[in-house]
Amino acid sequence: MKRLLTNLLFVLALSCATLSAQELHKIIFTPQWQTQAQFAGYYVAIEKGFYKESGLDVEIVSPGMSTTSISRLKHGEADVISTQLLQAMVAKDEGIDLVNILQSSQTNGLVVVTQPGITSLAELSGKRVAAWTSGFSELARCMARDNEHNIQWINIPSGVNYFVSGAVDGILTMYYNEYFQVMNCGRRVTLDNTFHLADYGYNIPEDGLYCLKSTYRKRSKDMNLFAEASRRGWEYARAHPEESVEIVRKWMKKDNIASSLSHQRWMLEKIMELQVNKETCTASYTLDPAIYKFANDILRKNGFIRKDIPYDEFVAPKAESK
């Protein structure tokens, strides 16, 4: 009898514990690419327990080769995703009702890198520039069009071998990613061969956190907590870059992704740079309305979106900048 009682008590206690454990709200987060330092803040936040402290149980699920983060959000496979502003606005325009809960990127990161000898975008007229087929090269094409650079865009899947082999005169890169590879492939590229789209009137911010408006309505507290903790993660990464790179690489290894230390370092460094507003010199993690309007106008002008998207419809209330 005594034995039964103690067993009962034990089971009760356990379930209580489990129950209390279940007080952690689950969030599935999908970044737009596979594990890398581009998303350091989130891995750091998990590793450092920032989410747990906010009562969140976060699981990061990468999109894989066949899907995008937006598609996962659309299909409810992810609660929160990371994607670029342009993609998000296009998706919103297409009917996916998402809201921005955190704007990590404040600066556009696209860079056109040319072969040695080409020191201006004008010289790219009639020349081949490689760009990846998987999205966000649109901005570059817009810019080229606007500036009447008659660029012959060559679609490529990935990598820098087109550039290395000399098959193209230029290549579109992400400052924090492919740029590193292009600068370190022995082609004697210098800063004279680099052209930041941000300098050519296309400074549209990139990465940010989004969730469905419906999700936000239901779990605004969680969403805000997630955004807050994520921001904490980013801030920690800023203060402890080496440790953060280690954390990211550890997660990459878990996902069987080979990583280059110097590449990840570079990536984190540049992501941090791009998170800082060039004029205010601060990382606000919020989407500035003026910048938003600017992005909205360009996208409208270039036909990426059919109609204007008001700021307050795009950005979640708590995530608005005051």
Partner: protein
């Protein structure tokens, strides 16, 4: 052991140390040079080896790759044939894979709608799977081959193209590279590519086995620097030589090497990896643009050399030690006799001449040293013995000389007064030889009323002169006994000496015979210097013939001379040691000074005369050495004299007695009255002293002699009381004021002032005070 390390003090230790230092330097130099050359040899051979090894690999790779590309180039002709049916392509690719084990996969990809019925994508692809070959279609919406590197890059470049290695989709572990050859139609337009995939396993394995040294490793990079073969799997296709460089402290090292490799250069460099210095060899795989590198830690390359050097160094060190020990021991052995030589030398210095010397068995310089040392010992003994005999001989001679001196002194009359009882003669002499024995002589004796005297000077000094002096003196004595004329005596002495005078010594001589009763002097001079004559208070040189010294010529005709001396005349004879006495400045005393000092000395006693002159000579000579024998013989002839002797008691009443005696004496000798008082006063003072003090209160007597000769009064007071020399008494200070004047002491002072000469002698326990005064007779 401590002795072993006393380097400073040990000849063996010092020498060994020097030897060690020199040998050490030679070792170091030799070893350094040989090490340097070995090093260079090892280095160059390592480099050669690396070069060769890598060349082998790159060559093979190149062969393989060119073989493939050539083959594929050949096959494309078939495919380019416009009449080729589409499905044949499947067979073709299958065949190619089947027939070529090197080819892992083969594909033909066509431009869109090349085969219109085949649609947008048409790219038959065959690949090996196990033992069989599988064929499939590559192209589909998910695999848009038109953008693939193996398709688009050769199209853009318009050249056949080897892709950068990549992971094989199927395997994951396997790295492949694809060769694409451009397919053209009849018009030369691009219609597609024919590809062959080859596995780089072979490259991987070969490169990874490039391990000429245990800790060396190799890697290969692609056209962009990406690692395509690397011992660290994680780096393959993930890192490049440039991204790795960024992790270094100084990225530029690997960056520049990477650039060189990517540029297709070959060469070697020295880099630092994991804090170790390594050699870095690199060579390109031509045509394809990949590159191979080998990293060899320096330690590995030079491991053998290091080991060898270590061994050689240890051996050298050990050898050095051996040399040190050997040197030390040998030196010590050789030098140990030196130590005992040193000890023996010390003993010899202390007087032990017969100390034993160490035995030396060798026939070298040590033996020589020992022999010389032994010889020195013997000679020292002899020398010491001869020194001793010389010293004792010297002592003997010296003592004999002393005896000779005594004998010589014994030969001349030394007792003065010579004739105390005689009143007609006052004679005094002094002989001071320059050495222990001398060549000067004087002699005198009285026979009856005649005083025989000589003074002489043998040429030279010392023993030879003294011998002749002795002979001369004896001859004087013996010959004057029977020869009565001075010339005869002189001649006889001369002849005797001249015979057998091989040394040609001679003697100057002045010989005289004085009649004490009459004052007649007979004399003969033989080359001697003229005496000084004091007569009637005048001073002059005694006239005489010079003649020649005796001993030179046989039968020289010496002649007598005669003169009458005045009463009280003084014949002051001397040798040239007096007049030729040298001062410190080599000045001679001289005749003039002699004459000067003799002024007024006639009234002095003979003894006082000699004292005064000797004092003056001494003053002149100062500290200079005595150059010659100095002899004086002074004779006062008092043939006519008057004297009285009184014996008085020591009572004051005797003063009156003396006064009366003196009064009558003055009368007799015609003393001027004015001279009486001082004379009386003097005498009173003297005898009062005697009366009051001489006998210390006890009764006693004393004698007073009053005498006169040639206007010189001589008073002699003789008492047997306690010794008292008034001449010694200090004069009172007569300049003091009355209050300060002493009451006593004036008596003796007055005597000294009033009398011409005060002479004190002590003889036979008697005080003999002689007062003399010259008077001018009335």
């Amino acid at each position: 052991m401590k002795k072993f390390f006393k380097i400073r003090e040990s000849f063996a230790a010092r020498t060994s140390m020097y030897i060690i230092i020199v040998v050490g330097i030679v070792f170091i130099a030799t070893l350094s040079v040989s090490f340097y050359f070995s090093y260079k040899t090892v280095e160059s051979s390592a480099m050669k080896n690396a070069e060769v090894t890598m060349a082998k690999t790159t060559l093979e790779m190149e062969r393989l790759l060119s073989g493939i590309s050539k083959m594929v180039d050949n096959i494309k002709l078939v495919v380019e044939d416009g009449n080729l049916p589409a499905d044949t392509v499947y067979l073709l690719v299958r065949q190619i894979v089947a027939n070529n084990t090197d080819i892992a996969g083969c594909a033909v990809a066509f431009e869109p709608y090349y085969f219109k019925d085949k649609g947008y994508y048409f790219s038959p692809f065959a690949y090996r799977q196990g033992d069989s070959v599988v064929v499939k279609q590559l192209g589909n919406p998910d695999y848009d081959y038109f953008t693939m590197e193996w398709y688009q890059i050769p199209k853009l470049l318009d050249k056949n193209f080897w892709t950068e290695p990549y992971y094989d989709e199927g395997g994951g572990e396997s790295i492949v590279s694809t060769y694409s050859t451009i397919l053209r139609n009849k018009n030369g337009e691009f219609i597609g590519v024919l590809t062959a995939d080859i596995s780089l396993d072979w490259l991987s394995t070969t490169v990874q086995n490039l391990k000429p040294y245990p800790n060396s490793y190799s890697f290969a990079i692609g056209c962009g620097g990406t690692f395509i073969v690397h011992p660290d799997k994680d780096k393959i296709l993930n890192e490049s030589i440039f991204s790795i460089a960024l992790e270094d402290e100084d990225p530029t090292v690997m960056q520049s090497l990477g650039q060189k490799m990517v540029d297709g250069e070959s060469g070697e460099a020295k880099i630092v990896r994991d804090d170790k210095l390594c050699y870095f060899f690199y060579a390109p795989i031509e045509q394809i643009g990949w590159s191979l590198a080998m990293v060899c830690p320096k330690d590995d390359i030079f491991a053998d050399l290091s080991k060898m050097s270590q061994v050689v160094f240890n051996v050298a060190l050990f050898g050095l030690l051996l040399i040190l020990v050997f040197c030390r021991l040998t030196m010590q052995k050789v030098a140990s006799p030196l130590k005992s030589f040193a000890a023996s030398a010390k003993k010899v210095a202390h007087g032990d001449f017969n100390v034993a010397l160490p035995e030396i068995s060798s026939k070298d310089e040590m033996k020589e040293l020992r022999d010389s040392f032994g010889y020195m010992q013997k000679e020292l003994v002899h020398y010491m013995a001869s020194l001793e005999s010389t010293a004792s001989a010297k002592e003997k001679i010296e003592s004999e000389l002393r005896i000779a001196h005594n004998i010589q002194q014994g030969m001349i009359p030394k007792t003065f007064p010579a004739f105390p009882t005689r009143t007609d003669l006052d004679i005094y002499a002094s002989l001071d030889p320059a050495k222990e024995v001398g060549g000067d002589l004087y002699d005198f004796y009285i026979e009856g009323d005649l005083l025989y005297f000589i003074i002489g000077d043998v040429s030279g000094k010392g023993v030879p002169a003294s011998l002749l002096m002795a002979v001369t003196r004896s001859l004087f004595r013996s010959n004057s006994a029977y020869l009565k004329k001075p010339a005869d005596i002189v001649s006889s002495i001369s002849n005797a000496i001249t015979e057998g005078n091989d040394s040609n010594l001679f003697v100057t001589l002045f010989l005289g015979i004085l009649n004490l009763k009459t004052g007649e002097l007979r004399y003969c001079n033989a080359g001697h210097n003229h005496p000084v004559l004091l007569s009637d208070d005048t001073v002059s040189f005694f006239p005489m013939k010079p003649n020649i010294p005796i001993g030179l010529f046989h039968d020289f005709p010496y002649e007598d001379e005669v003169t009458q001396l005045a009463n009280g005349a003084v014949l002051f004879c001397y040798t040239d040691g007096l007049t030729e006495a040298e001062s410190e400045t080599k000045e001679l005393y001289g005749d003039d000074r002699l004459l000067a000092i003799m002024q007024g000395k006639q009234r002095y006693s003979s003894k006082r005369q000699v004292q005064v002159v000797l004092a003056d000579v001494a003053k002149h000579v100062g500290k200079a050495d005595q150059s010659d024998d100095l002899t004086i013989l002074t004779i006062t002839s008092k043939f006519s004299n008057y004297s009285e002797v009184l014996t008085l008691k020591n009572e004051m009443s005797e003063v009156e007695t003396l006064k009366l005696a003196m009064d009558s004496f003055f009368e007799k000798v015609n003393v001027p009255p004015e001279m009486a008082m001082p004379l009386q006063l003097s005498m009173e003072e003297v005898i009062v002293n005697v009366i009051m003090y001489a006998y210390a209160g006890k009764p006693g007597t004393f004698e007073v002699e009053l005498s006169e000769c040639a206007s010189v009064l001589t008073f002699v007071i003789t008492d047997s009381g306690i010794p008292f020399n008034p001449a010694e008494k200090e004069d009172p200070d007569i300049t003091l004021a009355a209050e300060d004047r002493q009451i006593g002491g004036l008596g003796v002072f007055l005597v000294k002032q009033l009398m011409d000469d005060v002479e004190y002698n002590r003889r036979n326990n008697q005080n003999i005070l002689t007062l003399r005064k010259a008077i001018n007779k009335k």
